[in-house]
């Protein structure tokens, strides 16, 4: 005797609360168990790379803001860094300090958004609002610095656009102990919760071999035990000067990724703390850069550690004011590839947990 059951084809997205944007996942369900998952992307494709071929380098920077819109500072930086590498520019120290401070604050803000939305996906609503309250403080700091709350357009080739307004550094100093206390509270609220643990422990597991093979980066890679953080491995900016740890875990599950992100927030705060302590009050914020930036003909691939992993910028220059070819290596795009493999044999509920655990931003996936 056999009972014939129907396979259900469900379109998760492009309009679905848990896809965090216009992402579509075509899922075949046997009961509640996923037998096949096919991601469909491109709904947010804006052709940034094509547009960039007709824009000057400074004009491209606001486009990078809109890629990973939760972490616009690191995106700004990767482009500026690529051009600066091509031009062999020396960046004033004060500018580098400002860059590090905003990048690390942005990392905290980005992880906070992840933390809130992840718990929202898991079904707890309050953490979402707590996270946004604290992110608001960072956003306000950025607002004061560059007049924007989300798409900052703060960095320029050769430095940063705005100097820290008077009293800004003190506000950052005050923010650090506050945020530390909040993170502690969050951990008390969520990390020990039995229901939460049962939702994330041993879910979405993969080993380091798989992670490397899929080219995962950031927390997704470090959760499998590989100590690979570009801030340490291929130091850029001032990161060599700061004392911080790269948290890793060997569990490779969603809980490991959760813990690492919490830990990263703490590390970022400690970097910011050191940076504001050493912050030079005097100094220039822009290097001597020609009005029209025309890097020499050549090719460069610069990469940095964004909150989501390795963000890279591959520029082919022909010595003109516009790049001949500009390609971004977007961590979300690469990290997302592993999703179909992780989903097979999981339930609909775990879909949300695993997908959220990868932490993607759709603006970056589609670019």
């Amino acid at each position: 005797m056999s009972i014939r059951t129907e396979e259900l084809l469900v379109n998760v997205g492009p309009q679905h609360p848990s896809t965090h944007g216009v992402f579509r996942l075509v899922v075949k369900l046997d009961g509640e168990v996923i037998t096949e998952a096919t991601p469909v992307i491109g709904y947010l494709h804006r052709g940034t790379e094509k547009l960039a071929e007709n824009l000057s380098y400074t004009q491209i920077i606001p486009y990078t803001d809109r890629m990973d819109y939760l972490s616009a500072m690191t995106n700004n930086y990767v482009l500026c860094h690529a051009v600066e590498t091509l031009m062999k520019l020396e960046i004033p120290e004060k500018a580098e300090y400002l860059r590090v401070i905003v990048m690390e604050l942005n990392r905290v803000a980005s992880h906070l958004v992840w933390w809130g939305t992840y718990l929202l996906d898991i079904g707890a609503m309050s953490p979402f609002l707590y996270a946004f309250r604290d992110r608001e403080k960072i956003v306000e700091l950025f607002n004061e610095l560059c007049g924007a709350r989300l798409t900052y357009f703060y960095m320029r080739v050769g430095g940063v656009k705005w100097d820290a307004p008077p009293g800004w550094i003190d506000k950052v100093k005050e923010f650090i102990p506050y945020m530390r206390k909040q993170i502690e509270e969050y951990e008390k609220l969520v990390t020990g919760n039995e229901i939460f643990l049962s939702r994330v422990k041993d879910i979405g597991k993969y080993d380091s071999q798989t992670a490397i093979n899929y080219g995962l980066s950031g927390v997704n890679l470090r959760s499998t035990g590989i100590d690979w953080d570009l801030r340490k491995q291929e130091p850029y900016s001032l990161y060599e000067q700061f004392d911080f740890d790269v948290p890793t875990s060997t569990d490779g599950d969603c809980f490991a990724r959760y813990r690492l992100r919490i830990e990263e927030m703490k590390q970022s705060l400690s970097i910011v703390e050191q940076a504001v302590a050493q912050f030079p009050e005097e100094g220039k914020i822009m290097a001597k850069v020609p009005r029209v930036i025309r890097p020499p003909a050549g090719e460069v691939y610069s990469r940095i550690e964004s909150p989501r992993g390795e963000i890279g910028c591959h520029i082919v220059s022909k010595g003109k004011a516009e790049p001949y070819r500009l390609k971004f290596r977007r961590p979300s795009f690469v990290n997302l590839q592993i999703l179909p493999e992780l989903l097979i044999g999981e339930t609909m509920t775990n879909l949300v947990t695993i997908f959220g655990g990868i932490d993607i931003v759709l603006g970056e996936v589609d670019c």
């Binding site: 005797m1 009972i3 059951t5 129907e6």
Partner: protein, 165 residues
């Protein structure tokens, strides 16, 4: 005309109506809904007979559990929405004759037989009464039924396990 009679008529009509609907409906979902109506009407008749315990157990088990189980089965499995009934004239006529005959027999027998007019005191606490009866007078049938149900349960598990392999 007492209220009891009105309600009895109401419940018996809905019970019979539900049964007929169940046989005649084309979509399975409707069939089950009709069956549920019958179950509920029967529970209503139980209430009229002062058998509240039985009535609510009837709702709990039949209207609640069994109906839902059937709906579950239907929702989860593939089934034909409609099926063509072959037109068989002779079959229908003989069926009708059979039903009329059966009704006649029932009517005659019920009319003829004299029910002993025993007036029993309605127990104040029926639940207790039922419990006492089950565990004293009817303990052996009760235990046998429970064994039967256990066997059915185990059988179901075994079938489901084989299916899983």
């Amino acid at each position: 005309m007492s209220g009891q009679f009105i309600f009895f008529m109401l419940f018996s009509v809905t019970a019979i109506g539900g049964a007929i609907m169940m046989l005649n409906m084309e979509r399975i979902m409707y069939m089950i809904a009709s069956a549920a109506v019958t179950f509920l009407s029967l529970a209503g008749i139980y209430v009229l007979l002062h058998a509240e315990f039985l009535a609510f157990v009837q709702i709990l088990i039949y209207a609640g559990a069994i109906t839902i189980l059937m709906i579950f089965g239907i929702v989860l499995t593939k089934h034909e929405e409609k099926r063509e009934e072959p037109k068989r004239r002779f079959y229908h006529i003989s069926l009708f004759a059979g039903v009329v005959g059966l009704f006649a027999v029932f009517y005659y027998v019920i009319n003829q037989s004299a029910f002993p007019a025993v007036t029993r005191e309605i127990a104040q606490d029926q639940t207790k009464e039922i419990g006492l009866l089950i565990y004293s007078q009817y303990v052996i049938p009760f235990e046998l039924v429970s064994i039967l149900l256990t066997i059915a349960l185990i059988g179901a598990i075994i079938i489901a396990k084989r299916e899983g392999k």
